[in-house]
Symmetry: C2
Subunit: 276 residues, 2 copies
Amino acid sequence: MPFHLYFNGEISPLDSTIFKSNDLAILRGYGMFDYFRTYNGVPFRWDDYWQRFENSAKLLKLPLPLNQEEAAEILADLHALSGEPEVAFRFVLTGGYAPDSVHVVKPNFLIRTEALPQDNPAGLLKGIKVLPYQYVRDLPEIKTTNYVHMVLMADEMKEQGASDLLFYKDGEISELTRSNFFIFKGDTLITSDTNILRGITRKVVLELAKEHFKIEVRPLLYSELATADEAFTTSSTKWVMPIVQIGDNLVGDGKAGQRTLSLQDLFKKVVLEWGR
Amino acid sequence: MPFHLYFNGEISPLDSTIFKSNDLAILRGYGMFDYFRTYNGVPFRWDDYWQRFENSAKLLKLPLPLNQEEAAEILADLHALSGEPEVAFRFVLTGGYAPDSVHVVKPNFLIRTEALPQDNPAGLLKGIKVLPYQYVRDLPEIKTTNYVHMVLMADEMKEQGASDLLFYKDGEISELTRSNFFIFKGDTLITSDTNILRGITRKVVLELAKEHFKIEVRPLLYSELATADEAFTTSSTKWVMPIVQIGDNLVGDGKAGQRTLSLQDLFKKVVLEWGR
């Protein structure tokens, strides 16, 4: 797999040593990223991902060294070098090298080409278990690199047979570590709009769902889980993933919901036809 | 300045390119650090700093690749290479390279030798202004690398003539971005013990203060600022720094407090005599 990366104007093998030690991402956790993939060789919803990346950069006050067209050319070059029909891309923008270890001088911009994430076909069919976790992401509308709780809890999740954490605080559910959260109550689809990162898959699913279900985009209470018929999470790697257990409690009857699976089908059609 | 760094067993110039791009500090903000300096050529309170570093590593579930003795030898080598009588050291322990961008495999351990921080003699004499900021550090007892709010607010602080942020949430003051917080009410010295990083300078100052003042280590309410006679902050770079203004409000009469300056004197004596 000759995957490569782009770093501040240069392309080199993915395994290259590229960062000096005083980057603000390393010293101060000051960085942001985005992540997306191709279907049929074409980056999925590229405009949406770029727009979100631009927005994160603006909110972190980091000037972007490239515009969308220039970035698209680099994606094409990296894709060609990979020799793979499909790839994933990870953009990372950091605070750059800081002589005083505090102030941003010039951001570092990295694009990594990565192998596609591993599928979880069993999860898509039967659903996953998640652990409730009292936390709300800091600066949730920015896709910062701060995923400390996810990494910290990785072993605990594995021990409990769980795939992810469901963040809630002060009685309100926000999101999972890297994905958005939805429930069905009957034919009503509910998802939060506060303290979340606005997922692109979430956006696509809401577009698809509006023709079939009543939709409520509003704060979602933890107490509503008890009466939810179905639950699922969305992300670029999870698609529409049924959630059948939250901690010790089953969601609905503990099986992947039919409405959820119908949305999963609709999403699958979109990506399979993407770019054709 | 031939400052050098240590990285996973090798010593190289400070400006060296050493990190690959999939370190968890870069991708996931998963890292921790510590920072201390020499006085009279001897690392100040080395046992305390090492113990805190070990504690952070344990709480982040990162195995330390060195013990204290081995680390001390590296410090001596780096110090000698610098050719400087006094240096500062920055330890950084990251989640290391992650093939799956989530799980820790083997931490990366970095020690940077740095020039001494710039003094702020005017601040030590006349005191500084800080901005109140509604926030509490995530995992406050761990010295993680997450200083996003500090970097994000750097311009705003400069515009307002402020040196730092004073974190408070739900009516309670915790700390500043990188330093602890104290107030005097008469001869009573008060400092918080919750949601803080336990500073080594804080510890030394409490040791020094107990012979001269009544001490209360307890949650400190934001509302208590109005009746504080003096305020100050402590850190390895700020020593005992008077705080004379918080946002638009003066502390006491708006001048560096006499009790604060007496503690500053006591601290200065300790460091000037350190290692002799």
